[in-house]
Amino acid sequence: MSEDHLYALRHRHLIGLEDYSHAEIRLILDTADSFKEVIRRPIRKVPALRGKNVVNLFFESSTRTRLSFELAEKQLSADTLNFASTGSSVSKGESLGDTARNIEAMQVDCVVVRHAAAGAPLFLSQCLSNAVVINAGDGAHEHPTQGLLDLLTMRDALGGLEGLKVVLVGDIAHSRVARSNIWGLRKMGARVVVCGPPTLIPVDIEDMGVEVCYRVEDALRDADVVYALRIQLERQHEAFFPSLREYTRLFGIDPERLELAKPGAVVMHPGPINRGVELDSRVADSGRSVILDQVTNGVAVRMAVLYLLNGGGERDAA
C-alpha cells in the first residue's frame, strides 16, 4: 500500500502535526469531510464510539475548544467526562503523573488534554499505557486539531492546499496555532510567511520552513490566506510592543491592506477576535472571512481525529 493512501493513522496519539505525515493529515481531512455530512443531517449522531469513554482534561481555561471536542465526542456516541483545573500541577498539589495514573485506573479510553505547559500531552502519553492522548493545545507548542481544522477550511475555500501562499500575522512567538499551522501547511505543500514585529517572531523560525516578513504590506501581496493571530493584550506590558494602538497601525488587517492579497483570498482567525486590534470588523464580517467555517470544521475534524485514533479505519485497512 502506498504511503499516500492510508486507511488508518500510523500514530497512537495526536501530540502534534510535526510528527504526522502528509498521508496521515490527508486521511484526517478526508475523514472530516465525511463527518461534515453527518453534521448536516437532522439527527447528528453516529455510533462509532459507542461504549468508549473520553475524558476532556483541561488544565487551562478554554471554552470553544472544549465545547467543540465535547460536541464531537457526543456526536460519535462516546461517553464524555470533563475535568477542568487551572494552574500548574505543583500549585494544585497533584502531579500530572498522578493524574495520569488515576485516569489509567479508571479505564479511560481516550484523553483530550489542554495544558499551559508545552510538552504536557507528550508527558501524559508516556505515563499512560492504554489510553489515547489527543493534544488540545499545550503552551506555545502545538494545537494540532486547530491546525487541522484550519487546513480543512483552506482546502474547502480554495480547492486545495498545495502552492497556496498563507500569511500568518501577529504573535508567532507565543502561538501554538501558528506552529501547528506551519507544520501542517508545509507538509501539504503550501508556502508560509510569518509576519509581525521582530519581538514576536521567535529566533530561527526559518528553520521550520517559513519566510519572515516585518512589513505586513509586503507579506500580504498575492496571499491566498490572511490568517490573523490573536494578540494577547498583556503582551504590551511585557515590552513586546509599545501599545495596541501602534500594533494595530502596523499590523492590523483592515480592508485596505486586504486589497493587497489575491482577489479570492480568505481571512481566518482562531478566535476569540480582538475586534479593532488584529482584525478590523469590516474584514472579520466580510464575505472574505471564513472564521465561522473554521468553527464548524472544528467539530468535523475533531470527530475525525477521535474516530481514527479510537479504532476507526482499521477494518478498511485490511
Binding site: 503523573g97 508545552a118 510538552g119 508527558f123 506555545a140
Partner: protein, 441 residues
C-alpha cells in the same frame, strides 16, 4: 579484570600499583610502570625487602591517573539531604574516579560563615572522597554584604562563590574582587543575567522555537561574563568562570587571558557532549542551568578546552529528586548529576574522537582544578598524596541510573553507552572504590 588484594596496604604498609600506564600531566610522564604508596603518599620504589611485603594492585591494561578533582558539585547537605549528602556524594565521586570535590555553598543554611565551613568539613571527615567547601561570597547569597573572607579561608574554604547565581550589583562584585586580593582564593562566578533569562527553560534557538518553550538567550550569560571579566581586570582580582556554555563566552575568556586577566574557567561534561536538539523529547533530565546550547557552542567549547582557554572540566553535579524531575518540563527543576559519568563521558566524547589528548583530559580534570583551588593533588610525583584513579579504557558500559551511588538519579546520560570505566579509586592511600559486577573484556 578485578584488582587483587585487600583494601588496606600490605604488611610493610606499602601498596604497589603494578604495570599500569602512568599518566601524570604535572610531570609530563606517560609510561608503563609501577607506582608505590606508603603512609598515604606516593613514594619512590622502596628497598627490595620492603617491596616484597607490599599489597599489589595489578593495573595491567589500565590507566593510572592522579585522582580527579571536581571543582563544582552540589552535595546538598545541610538542608537538602533527600537529594544528596556529603557521604553519598563522596561515594558517588569515588565511583566516578574523583578523589576530591569542591562543594557549593547553596545549602540551607548557606555556607557563609566559619562554623558552617567547619560543619561541612567535620561531616565529610570520614567520607570516601576529600571534600573541600566553597564558601558564599555574600551573606546568605543575597548579593549585598561580603562574607568574612579572612575567617572563611582560615576555616578551610578553598574558594568563594554565590553558586548558581550572579551578583546583580557590580559595585559589590568590584569590592569582592578588591578585598579578595588579600587572600589567594578564586572567586567562582556563574554568569547569568536573571532579567534576560527570566522564565526561560532551554537554550533560545531554533529548537526552543519549534518546541514552544521559552528560551534562555546566550547573551544572558555573555553580558555577565563580559562585565565580570572587566571588573576582575579593573580590580586585579582573581576570577574563575564556571560552567561556560557559549561560543562567545569562550571567546571572551580567550581574549581576557591574552590581556593578562587573572582568569580561569571550567565547562561541564554535558555542555561538551549534548546539544539543545536533544530536548525534542521534553526530557526534563536534559534541563540544566546553563541550558544545553547549540552545536556551534559545543564545538567552540571543545576547541576552547583543547587550546587551554578553558582550564578545567567540572561536573556541576546537581542532584534532584524524582518528583523534582518527573513533571511538566517548565515545572521541573534544572540540574544534572555528573560525578559518576564525568570521566567516561569525557573519555568517550572527547578523548576517543581525538578532540582532547589523554594527557590534556587528565590535566583538565585533575591537575588544573587542583591548582586553581590550591589544594594538594593532581600529581603522581613522589611525596604527593596517594589519590589515584585506575581506569580501564577498553570496556564499555551502559549508564544505568539505578546503579548510582548518588542519592539522585537525574543523569542526562541514562541509557548511553560509554567507553572506559573506573576500576579502582584510591584516596589517601586507601582503596575507596572497586568496580563490581562481572569481569569485562
Amino acid at each position: 579484570m578485578r584488582p587483587d588484594g585487600p583494601d588496606t596496604s600490605g604488611s610493610a604498609g606499602i601498596t604497589e600499583i603494578r604495570n599500569g600506564r602512568i599518566i601524570d600531566p604535572a610531570s609530563g610522564r606517560d609510561e608503563q610502570g609501577d607506582l608505590w604508596i606508603r603512609e598515604g603518599r606516593i613514594v619512590d620504589r622502596p628497598a627490595d625487602g620492603d617491596a616484597k611485603g607490599a599489597t599489589v594492585i595489578d593495573a595491567t591494561g589500565q590507566l593510572v591517573l592522579p585522582g580527579l578533582v571536581d571543582m563544582h558539585v552540589h552535595l546538598c547537605e545541610p538542608g537538602y539531604e533527600y537529594r544528596e549528602t556529603l557521604e553519598s556524594g563522596a561515594l558517588a565521586a569515588v565511583a566516578g574516579g574523583i578523589t576530591g570535590v569542591a562543594c557549593m555553598p547553596d545549602t540551607d543554611p548557606v555556607v557563609d560563615d566559619a562554623p558552617a565551613v567547619r560543619f561541612v568539613r567535620a561531616r565529610a571527615a570520614g567520607a570516601a572522597a576529600k571534600v573541600y567547601p566553597i564558601a558564599a561570597l555574600t551573606a546568605g547569597r543575597a548579593g549585598e554584604r561580603l562574607t568574612e573572607i579572612g575567617e572563611l579561608a582560615e576555616a578551610g574554604a578553598v574558594a568563594l562563590s554565590e553558586a548558581d547565581r550572579s551578583i546583580r550589583n557590580p559595585a559589590i562584585l568590584r569590592r569582592a574582587f578588591e578585598y579578595g586580593r588579600m587572600f589567594d582564593l578564586p572567586i567562582i562566578v556563574h554568569c547569568e543575567d536573571p532579567s534576560l533569562s527570566a522564565g526561560g527553560v532551554m537554550h533560545e534557538g531554533s529548537h526552543a522555537t519549534r518546541l514552544g518553550l521559552k528560551g534562555i538567550p546566550s547573551i544572558a550569560e555573555e553580558t555577565v561574563v563580559a562585565r565580570d571579566l572587566m571588573l576582575a581586570e579593573w580590580t586585579g582580582g582573581r576570577i574563575h568562570i564556571t560552567q561556560a556554555s557559549t561560543a562567545v563566552t569562550a571567546g571572551l575568556i580567550r581574549a581576557a587571558k591574552q590581556r593578562g586577566v587573572n582568569v580561569t574557567a571550567d565547562v561541564s561534561p554535558h555542555h561538551l557532549a549534548l546539544t539543545d536538539e536533544a530536548l525534542s523529547t521534553f526530557d526534563t533530565h536534559l534541563k540544566t542551568n546553563p541550558p544545553l546550547r547549540s552545536k556551534a557552542d559545543v564545538d567552540a567549547l571543545r576547541e576552547g578546552l583543547a587550546d587551554g582557554t578553558i582550564d578545567a572540566i567540572a561536573s556541576d553535579h546537581t542532584p534532584r529528586s524524582v518528583d523534582e524531575k518527573n513533571t511538566e518540563f517548565q515545572e521541573a527543576l534544572s540540574g544534572a548529576t555528573g560525578l559518576e559519568t564525568m570521566l567516561a563521558v569525557v573519555f568517550t566524547e572527547m578523548v576517543g574522537p581525538g578532540l582532547l589528548t589523554l594527557n590534556d583530559a587528565v590535566r583538565v580534570m585533575s591537575t588544573s582544578p587542583a591548582g586553581i583551588l590550591g589544594i594538594e593533588g593532581g600529581s603522581l610525583s613522589s611525596g604527593a598524596p596517594a589519590d589515584l584513579t585506575l581506569f580501564d579504557p577498553d570496556g564499555t558500559w551502559t549508564v544505568d541510573p539505578a546503579s548510582f551511588k548518588s542519592r539522585s538519579a537525574n543523569t542526562p546520560f541514562a541509557g548511553r553507552e560509554l567507553k572506559g570505566s573506573v576500576t579502582v579509586t584510591i584516596v589517601g592511600g586507601q582503596v575507596r572504590y572497586r568496580r563490581d559486577g562481572p569481569e569485562s573484556s
